[in-house]
């Protein structure tokens, strides 16, 4: 079922951030050498939630189109959680990068759909999406390092 209201899109954003944080915490335990990077990602996810909620709760009013600004298919952005124990490091990094790409796409799509209609929220979404683009570059760099 598609999501149309700001409230449910914010809830989806939080869910994606929390699931992705869980993934990175697990990876930090499993791949100790890269642990600092993954832990930083997990912390950044928590900061992203604060940033998004701050934008939403700060600008939500009945003057903007909170109930009608989105047309999001949540299934397009869901991802499998933590890779299994026997997943290799390179596969895990690949998986993390694919997840980042999905989440980034969610934020860009949500920002584009709600542009003009949702005041500061699209801007917050784009900022988080941009962070995710940077993450993918970091993940690629890790993949290329032994």
């Amino acid at each position: 079922m598609k999501l149309h209201t700001a409230s449910e899109v914010i809830s989806l954003a939080k869910k994606l951030e929390n699931e992705s944080a869980k993934l990175y915490r697990d990876l930090s335990r499993r791949y100790v050498k890269d642990g600092d990077v993954f832990t930083a990602f997990a912390r950044e996810n928590e900061a992203n939630i604060v940033q998004i909620e701050r934008a939403y709760y700060g600008v939500i009013t009945d003057a903007i189109e909170g109930g009608f600004a989105f047309d999001i298919e949540p299934d397009d952005y869901t991802f499998e959680g933590v890779p299994s124990q026997d997943t290799s490091r390179s596969d895990a990094l690949d998986r993390a990068s694919a997840i980042e790409e999905k989440i980034s796409r969610f934020y860009y799509d949500a920002a584009r759909q709600s542009d003009v209609l949702m005041a500061d929220i699209p801007r917050a979404f784009r900022l988080v999406a941009k962070k995710r683009d940077n993450r993918r570059a970091r993940l690629k760099a890790l993949l290329n390092s032994p």
Partner: protein, 497 residues
């Protein structure tokens, strides 16, 4: 989709808040029903005139101490209140959804708007400053100071149970006055919770009082000599013929905001993709129960294709609106507040049919409620086509999710139609032409004007204006005008001999 947890969990009998005490009323008790679920959520007293008089007495007694409290100290009480409101933001929002029926996004929006008024009133040391000029003649200086007047009454409607008393209350107390708030007995929980937080914020007893009730307490408020002014929001007949008139008779200041019949003017050069969601929000947000809702959709131009395409897109979007309990995050439109209101709106729809308007979407039937809830207060969106200015549905406020579609040959005719309305609250134009927008803004007689904005709600630091039969008074709620309304200008001229 997830149903958010309800915050009103038990049925309480609401008390009045008088002189810092929670006082049981002697009045008859009335049920407060959640319009979506049909469940009893509270019991509210219909208080007596004597109880209102007791609240005014408490406010009058608190006034001397409060008015001599420095503005900066009064502002600090408001800062504490602002923090408490932020901490309890979600609870306050869900209470509104439970008692009013609006969606959670709408309730959160209402909470934010209310808090913004508290924030703005925190600037009272600056807002209530006077002005001066030295040497108006050699050696003589002159200045103006602003002083509070005493006790003010605030009478609130049902459609924004949390926010509307905050359009005026924070400015009243920030300037050193004391207030008695009368919430709508249909939705008393939000104001009860607000009063609890005001108590927690450390306002002295008697500065903020709440008396629940109906006509008897309003009459007591209007008659009371110690009430210096009233801020009212409600129906035009009450605003004009009761509140404004009797405040005049008893020498009270008055802000009386009435009804509306807002036009959304669609120019052929508008951004259609962005305008459709704005129309959904304007006409069907808050289930059409707000004085800034779109009522008449006025499509301009003789381009048949544009007209048909635009209208069909509006109808398609309205058909897809998710209806249900506002605590379900997927819901885009909740129920109307009560069965009586639904029946009144249904009567207006029938009147439109009788007058010959073409019913393109019938909100009385055929809509689906998400979840298992009684039909009692639910309506779907209704859209009439071929509405003419003489029809009742084009002229009178419906206060429900009903859109009347009209046509105008050009912008000039559209402006003439807007101006023929007895109301002047929140009219808007949708266009990509600066010239058309400027013309609309300049000529339309309306207190609030929207340009590509369908709900013309001013921020807290701007006045909530209104013209014609939508407003009676001079100064408005919110911001600087509210600070002026709640203070008297005292002029001093001095010469030292």
């Amino acid at each position: 989709m997830a149903l958010l947890e309800e915050t009103i969990k038990e049925v309480r009998t609401i008390k009045n808040f008088i002189g810092g005490e929670w006082v049981e009323s002697k009045g008859v008790i009335q049920d407060v029903i959640n319009p979506a679920t049909g469940k009893l959520i509270a019991k509210v007293p219909i208080s007596t005139g004597d109880e209102m008089n007791a609240a005014v007495k408490a406010a009058r007694e608190a006034f001397p101490g409060w008015r001599t409290t420095p503005p900066v100290a009064r502002a600090r009480c408001l800062f504490r209140l602002k923090e408490l409101l932020e901490q309890n933001f979600e609870e306050l929002s869900r209470i509104q959804t439970q008692e009013h029926g609006k969606t959670i996004d709408e309730s959160r929006g209402e909470t934010r708007r209310g808090i913004e008024n508290v924030e703005t009133a925190c600037g009272i040391p600056t807002l209530m400053m006077g002005y001066n000029l030295e040497d108006i003649a050699s050696g003589i200086d002159e200045y103006v100071i602003r002083q509070p007047l005493g006790v003010f009454g605030i009478i609130a409607p049902f459609n924004f149970p949390f926010m509307i008393p905050l359009w005026s209350g924070p400015y009243a107390v920030a300037t050193g006055n004391c207030v008695v708030v009368k919430p709508s007995p249909e939705v008393p929980n939000s104001q009860m919770r607000l009063a609890e937080l005001i108590e927690e914020a450390g306002f002295p007893p008697g500065v903020w009082n709440v008396v629940n009730g109906e006509r008897e307490v309003v009459n007591a408020m209007l008659d009371h000599r110690d009430i210096k002014g009233i801020a009212f929001v409600g129906r035009t007949a009450t605003a004009r013929d009761v509140i404004y008139k009797r405040c005049g008779e008893t020498g009270k200041r008055v802000i009386a905001q009435g009804a509306a019949k807002n036009f959304m003017v669609i120019m052929p050069d508008c951004n259609v993709e962005r305008t459709i969601p704005a129309m959904m929000t304007s006409f069907f947000g808050n289930t059409g129960q707000r004085c800034l809702s779109g009522a008449n959709l006025l499509i301009v131009g003789e381009d048949e294709k544009f007209y048909k395409d635009f209208l069909n897109q509006v109808i398609d979007a309205a058909k897809k609106i998710v209806i249900g309990y506002g605590l379900d995050e997927s819901v885009q439109m909740g129920p109307v507040r009560s069965k009586d209101k639904k029946e009144r709106i249904t009567g207006d729809i029938e009147s439109g049919i009788k007058e010959g308007a073409k019913l393109r979407l019938d909100g009385r039937k055929g809509f689906k409620i998400t979840g298992s809830y009684p039909q009692t207060c639910f309506l779907g969106p209704t859209i009439f086509e071929g509405v003419t200015p003489d029809m009742k549905i084009a002229r009178e406020e419906i206060f429900g999710p009903v859109m009347s579609v009209m046509r105008a040959k050009n912008l000039d005719e559209a402006i003439t139609m807007c101006n023929a309305s007895q109301y002047g609250n929140g009219n808007a134009i949708f266009t990509s032409s600066g010239k058309s927008a400027r013309e609309f803004q300049y000529r339309v007689v309306s207190g609030n004007i929207g340009i590509n904005i369908g709900i013309v709600a001013p921020m807290a630091f701007f006045p909530f204006s209104g013209m014609k039969d939508s407003f009676f008074g001079i100064l408005h709620t919110q911001g600087q005008e509210a600070a002026r309304f709640f203070t008297e200008s005292k002029f001093v001229i001095q010469r030292w001999l």
